[in-house]
């Protein structure tokens, strides 16, 4: 009872007889403990209060009403009850509450309704969110599916990508920005961007500038890109609702996708998720396209190689005849037409070099790989390089210490280095610096994955760098293609790098060009490290050029091309040998069964059943001590396995000079 704000009122006297402390607190200083005039405390407009008090006095049940405080017009809830006194008179007991009870209940109710409403809204939103989430996943999946179906080998796959994204995001402008030929370009564009960027323009932004931002700086990254887009022509385009997402290729940012959206309202919450999925998919697509392009390039080079090998084979036989006969001419006719004959020989030698390079490119050059110390080889080859370059070019050889050994064909390696040096020289007509450098390197799995035909592992690297005019990306891409040259007719055949390429590949290595127009070029060759520890690595015997005394011996010569057979027979006879010449392996076997020969010289490819390799085997059974020398303008798998000759087989490439064959024969017969 005492807890309540309570007044005892004498309605007749219009006086508040008593007030509880709570009532004093509630009403304030206008209320005194005893005998406060009712009018000091309450308003009585229209006798509302009077009627209420009279009502309360007239019945034993309580009445409820609102009363208004006089000083501050606050409304209180009042419950009036009759208080009967012993003398028959009555007073009114008034219980007050700060807030009319009804409104407090309504307020609670309203709060509850508001809570429920909020809960309902929240649930509806959550449900909507979930639907949106599913929708955006659906959309992403559909986009990824469409992207996966694109043919990345077609040149316009990025255009189709942009179209797919554009329609899925209902974008009025989508652009794919990525690096091409060394510069960031708008590679594909739809909608408003299609009109602004029709010809894959560059953005004046390098990939490194572009990727040099951390995750936290994503906004600045976007700003930079957008400002360059605007600078490049899109200055009237609003990027306010643009979705800008990086395109990662193999974990590194390689470009971006910009997608202009009509509004950023719908599905905004899931755009992040969606764009992550989609940019990942586009990145994957770009990676696939890159690999496929590389593969196509490799296949193209391979096909040209096949063709080249075939042509070279026939060409070699022709050359062999020309060369052989020219030499015979030179030998037999001392006086007349020597110059003509010499010219024929020069031409034939040039032709022979040409076919040799073609064969290298075709990876059909017979290789004799030996464990090689590159530093030592370069040291010994140094004078040759210096002779090749001009005085205005300085040569620097940087040999790294502790260099691993690699198994290579030394002659071909020298050829390759020479080709690169010549290219460097040609690239620096007004002088510069030529650097040849060696190092141990590892090509890791990631590198191997990104390059076709590369196996991860340890390699010995040899790099040839120049400070010349460099190559444009277009030239660098085609540089390995045979007969591709930017040089004037007669100055370049376009086979130098083809030879390097073929040779390195045949040696199970890898070659790569780094070049920037106007700055210079570096060509790096990688050869697999030789792990079979071979302690005595020498650089091969120095070629002796002493004049040869007349030779002695009986040679069985097998050659199907009668032209070649004829000139070879004569050449060998001129050297002092006795020669029996036949055109098939069968005839040779017949002869071998009947008599003894000091040496068998046979072509590899022979008509009919047996080839040179088989003939060599039979000959070994019939006469184990007799040396066999095989010759060919073209090497078949029968004698070359993985770039190496079968063990025990001696081989000489056609065409050869008389001096070359003489040397080989002499060496074999001396055993």
């Amino acid at each position: 009872m005492t807890d309540d704000a309570m007044l005892i009122i004498d309605p007749k006297a219009q006086i508040i007889r008593h007030a509880s402390p709570q009532a004093m607190d509630l009403i304030g200083p206008t209320l005194r403990t005893e005998d406060t005039p009712l009018g000091d405390v309450f308003l009585n407009e229209g006798n509302d209060l009077g009627a209420f008090l009279a009502g309360a006095l007239s019945v034993t049940d309580p009445l409820l009403s609102g009363v208004t405080l006089a000083p501050d017009k606050r409304t209180l809830s009042a419950k009036g009850s009759r208080l009967s006194l012993d003398d028959g008179s009555a007073l009114v007991l008034l219980l007050l509450e700060a807030e009319p009870e009804l409104s407090s209940r309504f307020r609670l109710l309203a709060d509850k309704i508001e809570e429920l409403r909020a809960e309902v809204i929240r649930r509806v939103a959550a449900e909507k969110g979930q639907t949106e989430y599913i929708d955006s996943l659906h959309r992403s999946v559909s986009v990824i599916k469409q992207l996966a179906e694109l043919d990345v080998s077609s040149g316009d796959y990025l255009d189709m990508t942009a179209a797919v994204i554009s329609s899925s995001f209902q974008s009025h402008g989508t652009a794919v920005i990525a690096e091409n030929l060394g510069k960031l370009r708008v590679l594909a564009a739809t909608g408003v961007f299609a009109d602004i960027f029709p010809n894959q323009p560059t953005l004046g932004l390098s990939l490194t500038e572009f990727t040099g931002f951390s995750e936290a700086q994503a906004d600045r990254w976007k700003e930079l890109l957008v400002s360059h887009m605007q600078h490049a022509g899109a200055d009237h385009v609003s990027f306010a609702n643009a979705l800008v997402m990086p395109l990662p290729v193999g974990g590194k940012v390689r470009g971006a996708l910009i997608c202009l959206m009509a509004n950023d309202g719908q599905g905004r919450t899931n755009v992040r998720l969606e764009s992550d999925l989609i940019s990942e998919a586009i990145g994957g697509l770009m990676a696939r396209a890159e690999i496929e392009a590389q593969l196509m390039h490799a296949q193209k080079l391979h096909a040209i190689g096949q063709l080249t090998g075939g042509i070279a084979h026939d060409f070699n036989n022709i050359l062999a005849v020309v060369l052989g006969n020219a030499e015979l001419l030179l030998y037999e006719l001392d006086s007349i037409d020597m110059d003509v004959a010499r010219e024929i020989r020069e031409a034939a030698i040039r032709g022979a070099t040409l076919t040799s390079r073609l064969l290298s490119f075709a990876r059909k050059q017979p290789l004799q790989p030996v464990p090689t110390d590159f530093n030592r080889l370069l040291r010994e080859f140094d004078p040759m390089i210096r002779r090749t370059i001009k005085e205005n070019i300085s040569l620097e050889i940087v040999s790294s210490a502790g260099l691993w050994i690699s198994q290579v064909d030394r002659n071909q390696l020298e050829n390759a280095v020479l080709n690169l040096a010549v290219n460097a020289r040609d690239a620096m007509p007004s002088g510069g610096l030529l650097t040849i450098e060696t190092a141990n390197t590892r090509l890791d799995n990631e590198y191997a994955e990104r390059h076709s035909e590369v196996r991860a592992g340890q390699y010995v690297m040899i790099a040839v760098s120049d400070t010349g005019e460099g190559m444009t990306p277009e030239v660098a891409r085609e540089a390995f293609t045979p007969f591709f040259t930017t040089k004037e007719v007669g100055l370049g055949s376009g086979l130098g790098l083809s030879m390097v390429f073929g040779f390195v590949k045949q040696s199970l290595g890898h070659v790569k060009i780094y070049s920037e127009a106007g700055v210079g070029t570096t060509v790096r060759m990688y050869f697999p490290r030789d792990l079979t520890e071979l302690e005595n690595v020498d650089t091969g015997d120095a070629t002796s050029h002493e004049s040869m005394p007349p030779a002695m011996g009986h040679i069985l010569l097998v050659e199907d091309d009668t032209g070649v057979l004829r000139y070879l027979t004569r050449s060998l006879e001129l050297l002092g040998y006795t020669v029996d010449g036949v055109t098939t392996a069968e005839k040779a076997i017949e002869l071998l069964q009947g008599q003894r020969f000091d040496l068998l010289l046979s072509d590899v490819i022979l008509p009919g059943g047996k080839g040179g390799a088989e003939l060599a085997k039979v000959a070994f059974e019939l006469a184990p001590d007799m040396p066999v020398l095989l010759m060919s303008g073209y090497t078949e798998n029968s004698i070359v396995h993985h770039g190496r000759l079968d063990v025990g087989v001696e081989f000489i490439s056609k065409p050869f000079t008389r001096e070359q064959i003489a040397k080989r024969l002499k060496g074999l017969l001396a055993r």
């Binding site: 309605p11 007749k12 009077g50 009627a51 209420f52 008090l53 009279a54 009502g55 006095l57 007239s58 019945v59 034993t60 049940d61 309580p62 009445l63 409820l64 009403s65 419950k79 009759r82 009555a90 009870e101 009804l102 209940r105 309504f106 109710l109």
Partner: protein
Amino acid sequence: MTDALPQPLRTPAIQKDYFLRSILRELVGMLEQTVGEREAEAYVNHVGISMGRILNEDYRTAFGSDKLDARQVAATLVDLKARIDGGFSITEIDSDKIVLENTACPFGDKVVGRPSLCRMTANVFGHITAENLGYARVRIDKAIARGDPGCRVVIALSKADETSGPGESEFFVGTI
């Protein structure tokens, strides 16, 4: 334009009275649910007393007297109820009490489940009786609102020997 409006096949029996009773029923229902039955009664008490005050003045004027006697009071109560479709009839009347009974409520079937509306009747009856006869003690024995088939209202005219029992309300002359 009104020609075009459709006419229902049977016009619903909605009269002004029916309409107002429905409103009342809904309002009281809302009040009972909001503040509880007991507090709702306290509000209805207040309304009932006020109504009683008005009606008392009207009947005094109608009878042309300052103060009604017992028979006039009884007549007033019956007439009042008849006028508002109360259907009350006096089953007992003496110097001690007036007993009224009915089979239909002034609030019609709208009263069922709205017991606080009974306070209206109790207060109007009690107030008019007390104002004219000096005192009244009202007890509602049966109520349609509580599910009984009819109502029975007992108005005692003298004070009880002991204090009023449960369900009884005492009325006094309320003029200050």
